[in-house]
Each structure stands twice: as C-alpha cells, then as structure tokens.
Amino acid sequence: MKYLCLIYDEEKKLGGMSKTESDAFMGEYFAFTEGIRKSGHYVAGEALQPVQTATSVRVRSGKVSTTDGPFAETKEQLGGFYMIEARDLNDAIQIASKIPSAKLGTVEVRPVVDFSTQPQA
C-alpha cells in the first residue's frame, strides 16, 4: 500500500542553520533516501522551493484567480514529500519516523487511495 509522507518544516528554523548544520542535515536526507531505496520502500520523493514561491490557483465561475502564497498560513510549511510503499500503517510510521525532519517539524502520513481495489459504488 502506498503512503504519502508530507514533510512540514519551519523554514525559519532551517534558514537559521549554519553551513555545517545544514550540510549535516542534507547528509541525513541523502542517507535516508538511499536507505529506503535499498529496502524497496521508496516510490518517489522531492524537496520543494520555499513557501514564498507558492501560488494558489482557484477557478470560480469559470474565472481563474491566482494569489500569492499557500492556502493557509501556518507555523510549519510543506517542504517536501516522499511517496513510499509500506506493508501497513505501522510500517509507514516506522519509515516516517526516520525522515530527518521528523525531529524538527512534523511528518504527516496519508494513505493513498487505490482505485483498483475500491468498490465502484
């Protein structure tokens, strides 16, 4: 079963890191990604540009409106994600707990809908 791990970090906290600290942090990410590739859990994963680059798009009455920034202002911002293949939620939680940002921010684990096994109502 696939789970999406959404990584929320405090950009301020990350921005405040020294060069050595942020290099070490990136190193942890490389090691983590390598680990889940080897174990077969890795499906995909990306890091995102900072939230100041975000644009929200809505279509209302056929009109496209674009606004600066994310949908909601929060203390922690979505900074990246991993899509993983896990046996069950416990397995997924195990993996999510090893994402380096789990120590600083929050990782939200969301099961992905598998339309091939959903009953067609």
Binding site: M1, R87, D88, L89, N90, D91, I93, V109, P111, T117, P119, Q120
Partner: protein, 422 residues
C-alpha cells in the same frame, strides 16, 4: 416440553455469548480482516447457533463452532451479494480469491485466541486513532458495551459515540492499521497507550459520585475487567501496577460517600467498610510488580495506595515511606499533581506548616492555579493552622473551580464550619 428445551438452549446460547462472544469476534476480525464484516458474522453465527444447537445439541467446543460458522456465513454472504449485482462481477471474483486466502482457523490453538484478543486491544488503542475514539472503540469491541451504554457512561450523546466508532473503523481500514500485537521494541510505548485508555475508563467511573453513580460504577468495573484481561494476556509489571491501583481505589468506594451522597475524605472514612478482598489482591499485585524491578508510575501509585489501604488509621499511616515513594514517582513521571500529593503527605509526616510551604511554592509556580484540589488542600492546612481567613479564601477559590455537586457541598460545609472571621 419442547418449549422448555428451546428455552434451555437459549439460556445456554446467552451464556456462551457472555463468555465467548468477544473472543470469537477478535478471531473473526483477524480472519475476515474487517471489523464490520466480523460483527455481522458474529451475529449470524449466534443466530445459527440458536437454531442448530436446538436440533443437534451444543457442540463440544462452542467457540470453535462459532468461529467457523461465522467465517462460513460471511464468505457465503459475500458471494451471494456479488451474484445479485452483475456490476459487482469483478469484485465477486476478488472476494472469491480473498475467501480462498482466508486461513482455516486453528481451532485447538488456545494461544491463538488469546493473541487475537490482544491484537484487538492494541488495534482499538492504536495511537493513530483519536483518544476519545480509542476509549469508545475499546468499550464497544473489547468489552461488548452498546453505543448507548458508552454514551451514558461518558455523558455524551449516542450519535456522537457512534460517529467516533464509525470514523475509527474507517481509519483502521483505509489507513491500514494492522491487526497485530506490536513488536517488542514498540511494546512499552504502545502498552502505555492501552493502560492510559483503561485508566481513563476507570477514572470516568470513579470520579463521578452524584446521581448517576450506579451506572458509572459499572464503568469502573469494566475498567477493572479490562485490567485483569491485560494482566492475564500480557503480565507486564505496569499492567499489574495499574490493575492494583484500580483495585485499591475501588476498595474504598463504599466508604467514600454517605448514604445520601456526601463526600467523605480518606482520613474520616470508616475503614471497616473498605473491601478487604480487593485490598489483598491489589497488595499482592503491587508485590509482584515491585519484584520485577521494572517499576513504573502505575506501580508506584499503587504502592502508595497499598500503604494507605493497609494502615489502621490516617495517623498510623507510614507517611515516611509514602513521601519516599512520591519522591521516586516525581522523578519517574514528574507532574505538578504528584508534587501536590507529595506536599499533602509531607504535611502528615512533618506537620501542616511544612506542607503549606510546599503547596504555596507549587501555586507560586502557577502550575496548579486552576486546580481545585490544590486550593482545597491549601485551605485544609490553613484551617488546621488556625489561619481562618486564608482558609476561607482558599475554600472559596476551590469552590469557584468545582462543578461536581458532592464536591461543592463538601467545600460549602467546610466553609460553614470555619470560625467566623474577624
């Protein structure tokens, strides 16, 4: 004659339902992989039992019969449902395949059944479920309480409880929370969650002492039953500690209130009303938990409760040892409430002045400014020291923070008993 026979079969089925239905359900959830399917299967199996046992007699192993019948009925129902709806053809095929995958239950394996009950407990108390849903789901699935009974116990509406249970079950299914006992490395954390749920259920029944006390008592009894089940299935020291703590609290129930529902504090209780059987069982469990040398907060609290329970009076209580246990507890599981209880014990050991100094220090930190018991404990010590004005102010503050009727009446009585102020 025939009617009599049917009545006696019904009685037998009722009895089997009481003793076995939760075990059967726990196994069916594992075999069918779904709470709702398993509940339906359980119901169908008991319906079939009433009919078939009347004709053929009660089987030698009713539990095995119920598991295997429930499983068969469920697969059968799935196939039938698929046949009546052509659009479900593909689904039917998958269900057939799934049915073939469902393992034959090992009907002799008693261990397997106990494992299933533990699986059920750990799944209902999975930390990915909201806390109120953990409680509702545990009472519903593990204890077999109805939604109405749970709603009554927690003073909420039945629809609210029903919705919590439905949401929890969908999360178990959709997020695929596994039906398993956690791995050894996760066990301490996961057991903590289970114990917290059990203690929450217990306190819900214990702290209530007003009009609804009768039914709420049942909630405490249910928590104790859960505690016993845990100790039986997973004899971890803290599970024993929690069961002991609940038994030792429960042992004082008859002495805690007057016949008309007024609160009586421990030092004024009639100790001959304390339940000796529960005290002995609790003390024995404390001994076993302490002997494990893996001592946690529940065991420490139970050890304190055991010292109270074994003392002939408040003044003849081993306050030195109680203060010592609170010191250990404050290190193992620090909290301002533990500090407050320790202060009350120090007041008994060294006199009210020493206790008052500690309580004032706790209040000065601001931790318990809105905690009723901190102010009533302070008031009590001031009263004993003859500081009537301070006592009055603290009783009034406590009264402002109290909603429970018996507590309010107790505080109002104490206020009236104070000598008129200057």
């Amino acid at each position: 004659m025939e009617g009599d026979a049917r009545d006696s079969i019904r009685e037998r089925v009722d009895e089997v339902y009481r003793t076995e239905s939760r075990r059967v359900l726990a196994t069916l959830i594992r075999l069918l992989g779904d709470f709702d399917l398993a509940e339906e299967a359980l119901h169908d199996a008991f319906m079939a039992a009433i009919e078939q046992w009347s004709a053929e007699g009660v089987p030698a192993n009713p539990r095995a019969w119920l598991v295997s019948t429930g499983r068969f009925k469920s697969i059968d129902a799935m196939r039938r449902r698929a046949r009546f709806d052509a659009s479900l053809g593909e689904l039917a095929a998958r269900i057939e395949a799934a049915a073939a995958d469902i393992p034959e239950p090992d009907l002799d394996a008693v261990d397997g059944v106990d494992d299933d009950r533990l699986r059920l407990i750990f799944t209902c108390c999975h930390p990915a479920l909201p806390a109120d849903a953990q409680v509702a789901l545990t009472l519903r699935e593990v204890c077999g309480l109805t939604t109405e009974e749970i709603a009554h116990a927690f003073l909420t509406g039945a629809p609210t409880v029903a919705q919590r249970i439905v949401r929890a079950k969908s999360k178990i299914r959709d997020a695929r929370i596994p039906y398993q006992v956690p791995a050894r490395t996760d066990l301490p954390d996961r057991l903590d969650t289970v114990l917290r749920v059990v203690y929450l259920v217990f306190n819900e029944g214990y702290s209530a002492s007003s009009g609804t006390s009768l039914t709420r008592h049942d909630v405490s009894a249910e928590a104790i039953r859960l505690g016993r089940l845990l100790v039986e299935l997973l004899p971890e020291p803290e599970a024993m500690g929690l069961l002991a703590l609940m038994l030792l609290h429960e042992s004082r129930r008859a002495a805690r209130t007057t016949p008309d529902g007024e609160l009586i504090l421990m030092d004024e209780q009639d100790r001959s009303l304390w339940n000796r059987g529960q005290i002995d069982e609790g003390a024995e469990l404390v001994g076993r938990a302490l002997a494990s040398r893996r001592i946690g907060p529940y065991t420490l609290q139970a050890a304190i409760a055991a010292l109270h329970a074994e003392a002939p009076s408040a003044s003849q209580t081993d306050w030195t040892q109680i203060v010592g246990l609170y010191d250990v507890l404050a290190r193992a599981d620090p909290s301002p409430v533990v500090d407050l209880n320790r202060a009350a014990a120090v007041a008994m050991r060294d006199g009210p002045q020493a206790g008052l100094a500690l309580i004032d220090a706790i209040l000065a930190r601001g931790d318990l400014a809105d905690y009723q018991l901190a102010h009533s404990a302070r008031a009590d010590l001031c009263r004993r020291l003859g500081k009537t004005d301070e006592a009055r102010a603290s009783y009034r503050r406590a009264l402002e923070l109290t909603r429970q009727q018996p507590q309010r009446r107790f505080l109002e009585r104490r206020l009236r008993e104070l000598k008129p102020g200057v």
